[in-house]
Symmetry: C2
Subunit: 432 residues, 2 copies
């Protein structure tokens, strides 16, 4: 027996059904906002990631040299790929560019609850608008998608921050610090001990007292206090931008889900403006459910013209944990509409009925295993068939078939010629 | 600027739309037959393929050693994976098991028209029935899916053969030949010169005259001639099975698409019974569009209990070529239902209207770039918006908005409170 690879999963139909329903909802909501689907490759040049995130990122990648000698990596995220695509056709594409796609990604990481080496995301991005309405549309998309999945407003919150507030505050504390590393430290804040957090911050160039001063600022509720403390245009502009995004989010119906949380930093280096993470309000799912934000410099960094961008990527694994916690899963069955049961030499009639029903878009199964009446009834029951159409030799001699309602168990004979006849979806109740 | 990897593709929205429509049709048809979706990993142990197809198969794989020292390969096809999944849960799964899934696969091959290193398939399989009805259901599924895609019966044909007829005939010609290699030679018949074909056949152990005799048998129309020639139970049983499958296919509505074609062998070693390939009837698409067949021994070969199986895997690349050739592509646009245009200080009203329309499931875009009236009208035109709802400051002072039909260019003012109001999808014509 062959083994599956660690961190990779098989989804049998029972597990796949809720995942598919989740994907459909995430995509259908994106379509309503005018996002359009793109398709992207599973492999990219390893350099694409190493250039952006440093060579050490390759430790987390499934990467190798292909038969043609290319250094390639299984894509760990979508953003660099869509950035490459925007750069490749930036003259032709009219702005704003609004794209979505659902796919697996791969990272060689420690496997834990809600984290696998193969994981799925629906990426939703807007390129070409620097306006707060674009950030707000991403937040509104998320709120609508989560509501569509059956979550209530009290189930989740978006913790919103701004990279330039963090960067600007650090700059005003000391000009000689490694801002990227300091922001990474903030991103880890909740997962590590205080001592380790302060150690990370002082490594970036802050003194211990500067680090404490900086940390105290992060928990303020009053953004004007930050502007005053920093006294720089940078922080003032960032605070204004964050306020404008939240105001647009109010118009777009997403403000109620947002809380300002400067501790929310997002680990990835390429974010530039507003960033946010979705959390389980109850804290039962302790990790961030998903996150997103603005990355205005990435396209230019990839050799394109300056193109502001903002996006989000709901991860299906953590989102599943939240849906389970909130008991927001629909209990829908596979919904087999009909089982057409054939006994004796009746296959051609049974097949005709099955075809007629399928042409009306119903889900229809028939016997493929030459089974007995009882075995077929068991199978029909197992696939949750709503109605069983019994095509038997004796009935057929009278030009009849039997229609059985599986919930009530009631059944009746009907003329074979009139089934399904004029009915779009004939059930036992229609025929009585 | 970063380059895409050879044989891998980006699909921009214009290319993705018809591909998505094709995927939806292939999957929707599978659902109507009661097939259920499964999800499968992108990596498997390289051994899974080497054991089944020989070490040389690894030349065609994207394979590597992962950070944990595992020999892994990017899946080149689905069948070994679903076989592994059936074996892993064979006690729990009730038979017949009917699964489908759509995914990319990867092979390191020469790139040519309709062949890429990353390619997409919708796999549809039945496990647990040896009856001809299972083979016929796969053929009927294919016929229904192709019709659903807009193809006419005269656009395609299924060339149907039987592995045991080929194997049995070879056996009756000579007991000392390499049957697998001989069948591979038959599979290549149409792509190679006669001399090369006969060279391949003689390498398998046939004499030149035996090879010619065998080849002549393949083009017969009369299956009973084959039974008579071979005089073995094996060939007789295979011919009977092929006839039974075609008879079931007649009941299931797929017989008209089938022609018997013993030259159709399918390259893969694991096939055992009926095999078939779909071809463009006009021959304009010269390669096989897709193929499938019975593989009764694979599950047992993977360490499971004997479990008959039959399946098909329409490949999206060659199927796209056929749809293009037959001009069967729907010309549908992205179908933006509304563009809500906001000028002046009207964002909150425009946003309220956009939300109301999206709640009614419409595709709605609004301004994200703080653009002028003219620029927004251009954008609305570019995204094929059916209706533009203009929310302007002056109109709003009169509690009005303007609804503009983009096809006729006609427009009228309507009270803002009554839009969208009771209408499910208000257009200019509803409001006049």
């Amino acid at each position: 027996m062959y083994e599956r690879i660690k961190g990779f999963r098989d989804f049998y139909p029972e597990e796949m059904r809720p995942r598919r329903a989740m994907t459909d909802q995430l995509e259908e909501t994106a379509r309503r906002y005018g996002f359009r689907e793109v398709g992207t490759p599973a492999l990219e040049r390893t350099q694409l990631y190493a250039d952006k995130s440093g060579e050490e990122i390759t430790d987390e990648l499934f990467h190798f040299t292909d038969q043609g000698g290319r250094e390639v990596a299984m894509t760990p995220e979508l953003t660099p790929t869509v950035a490459r695509m925007v750069v490749a056709k930036q003259q032709e594409l009219s702005k704003p560019i609004k794209w979505f796609s659902t796919r697996p990604f791969w990272r060689y990481e420690a496997v834990q609850q809600g984290r696998f080496r193969e994981f799925y995301q629906t990426n939703v991005d807007i390129f070409g608008s620097a306006e707060p309405e674009a950030d707000a549309e991403i937040l509104a998309y998320c709120a609508d998608a989560l509501s569509g999945l059956g979550l209530e407003p009290e189930d989740f919150e978006f913790r919103v921050s701004h990279r330039d507030i963090l960067g600007g505050l650090l700059e005003s504390v000391s000009t000689d610090i490694d801002t990227h590393e300091a922001i990474r430290a903030v991103d880890k804040r909740e997962k590590i001990a205080d001592a380790e957090y302060y150690a990370l911050l002082t490594e970036t160039g802050l003194t211990r007292s500067q680090a404490e001063q900086f940390d105290a600022l992060l928990s303020t509720d009053d953004l004007s206090e930050l502007v005053e403390f920093a006294g720089t245009e940078r922080v003032e502009a960032a605070v204004t931008n964050l306020e404008n995004v939240l105001e647009a989010a109010a118009d777009f119906g997403a403000r109620e889900h947002c809380t300002i949380s400067l501790e929310t930093a997002r680990g990835l280096d390429y974010y530039t403006g507003v960033v946010f993470e979705c959390f389980d309000s109850t804290g039962e799912v302790s990790r961030s459910v998903f996150g997103g934000g603005r990355y205005d410099d990435l396209i230019e960094g990839f050799g394109g013209q300056p193109t502001p961008a903002v996006g989000v990527a709901p991860g299906h694994e953590t989102l599943s944990l939240l849906l389970d916690r909130a008991d927001a899963r629909s209990a829908e069955s596979f919904g087999t509409d009909y089982y057409v049961l054939s006994v004796g030499d009746t296959r051609s009639v049974a097949a005709r009925i099955a075809r007629d029903l399928r042409e009306r878009s119903h889900i229809v199964e028939t016997d493929l295993s030459d089974r007995s009446f009882g075995a077929q009834m068991n199978y029909a029951d197992g696939v949750d068939a709503g109605t069983v159409v019994i095509v038997g030799e004796r009935d057929l001699k009278n030009d009849e078939i039997t229609v059985k309602d599986m919930e009530s168990g009631e059944q009746m004979a009907v003329p074979v010629e009139s089934f399904p006849g004029e009915y779009d979806r004939p059930t036992y109740d229609d025929l009585v």
